[in-house]
Symmetry: C2
Subunit: 275 residues, 2 copies
Amino acid sequence: MQVLKTHKTFEGKTQFWEHESVSTKTKMKFSTFIPAGPVRGCLIWLSGLTCTDENFITKAGAQKVLAEKGLMVICPDTSPRGLQLPQEHDSWDFGSGASFYLDATTPGYRDHYRMETYIADELHSLIQKEFNVPANKISIFGHSMGGHGALTLGLRHPQKFVSVSAFSPIVNPVNAPWGVKAFTGYLGENKTVWAEHDATELVRSGKRHPQALLVDQGGDDEFLTKGQLLTDNLTKACKEASQKLEVNMREGYDHSYYFISSFVENHIEFHSRLL
Amino acid sequence: MQVLKTHKTFEGKTQFWEHESVSTKTKMKFSTFIPAGPVRGCLIWLSGLTCTDENFITKAGAQKVLAEKGLMVICPDTSPRGLQLPQEHDSWDFGSGASFYLDATTPGYRDHYRMETYIADELHSLIQKEFNVPANKISIFGHSMGGHGALTLGLRHPQKFVSVSAFSPIVNPVNAPWGVKAFTGYLGENKTVWAEHDATELVRSGKRHPQALLVDQGGDDEFLTKGQLLTDNLTKACKEASQKLEVNMREGYDHSYYFISSFVENHIEFHSRLL
């Protein structure tokens, strides 16, 4: 594990890292913010389509409240890099920068796009070993595709993630164009398998998280209008299944980091209370 | 004046604008954040070498405290764009993205690189007319080359800028490699003229600002080590001239926006008290 860059920030450290991943069999990058004092817990942030390990750490304005709460954050890249798989670099919503945080099963992708294993096992262990955070002090949140990742990984591994929240998540990808394209490419045509990586379908099939899930969604988000996010489907499924869920519809806000920065403090406080 | 993009942020608006500048005879871009409630005043932010109107508004994390204080910010681009002047695009520290916020006098540049007039006259008027901020409620701050811009424009036009602050400013460009290159290109070989656009030399020659100048400087800033910033020269000149100056040396911090984000709240509070 190698530090590429360090920037002192709010008395703590913003750092950029690279390591050899056994899950993806590639180098993987991630960024961290580590507060100056004792670290009470770790938040894993999963970014959205086209992002890297840099977006959240440069644009969310989260370091101040993380420092105040004594929490670190780790922001992995959104896919393996440096490969040349079929169609991997042809579009912005599939392949590189668009892993959807699952373990792929299709030829080519199944050898490297193992992002669920990378996040829930490898990175989870690395946080404990390299950053001395106990296994029961790790939570997860994310944005858009990363909101989907946080919700699905949180529901599939509730014992690993103390609390789960999301900004503008893709909550029902089996019914959204982005999800249909990605799941076809990573999982093939069998839609029964797709449902295992869809937050709404997971709740419908009996998966639960012991804590309330927190979702913030911009009311003027173009991808909500275009039917990519489908927030109401998760609300309905959680209500029917008695999974606690808080959805804050934020009037006038869009899909950008300006929206995230406006409410990131609320999300960090939510995780801080439960960690 | 045309809005290119609007993003709701902390209940206010982050916006990107374009207008035809009479000073530069080009289109000019700037970004703004305007809080939701009454606007008490406006801060002009001047960015550093290679930056555009986007850096501060996306990376400084300033919107929250601006919203709390009822202050707007306007962040102009760092030079005219869309031109093809001699050597204009050959290096990152001269020409496009590197105006040094002065009115050039050399052939070619003198027709368009009129950034002092653009900021101190045109933008100053635009803030009053388009954003309804009184002329006596405008302050200025900036980073690196933009810190130089804030200090020199503040000292040259103290009646126009209520308060002046800077992060990692180039305080004595006539004695720094960046400054020598830029001033030669924009002002020619006459060093008497150079001194009129150098904060340290302006203080030495009798220019004053009625308020204390505020400077934050990272102790691990590579450009401080390389002799580009020369912070101590301004400290000495201000002491000798009884110009009030507060310099905060911040141990371990570098030249990046991670540094700026860590102390931007202090700077906004400084301006807020005086506006």
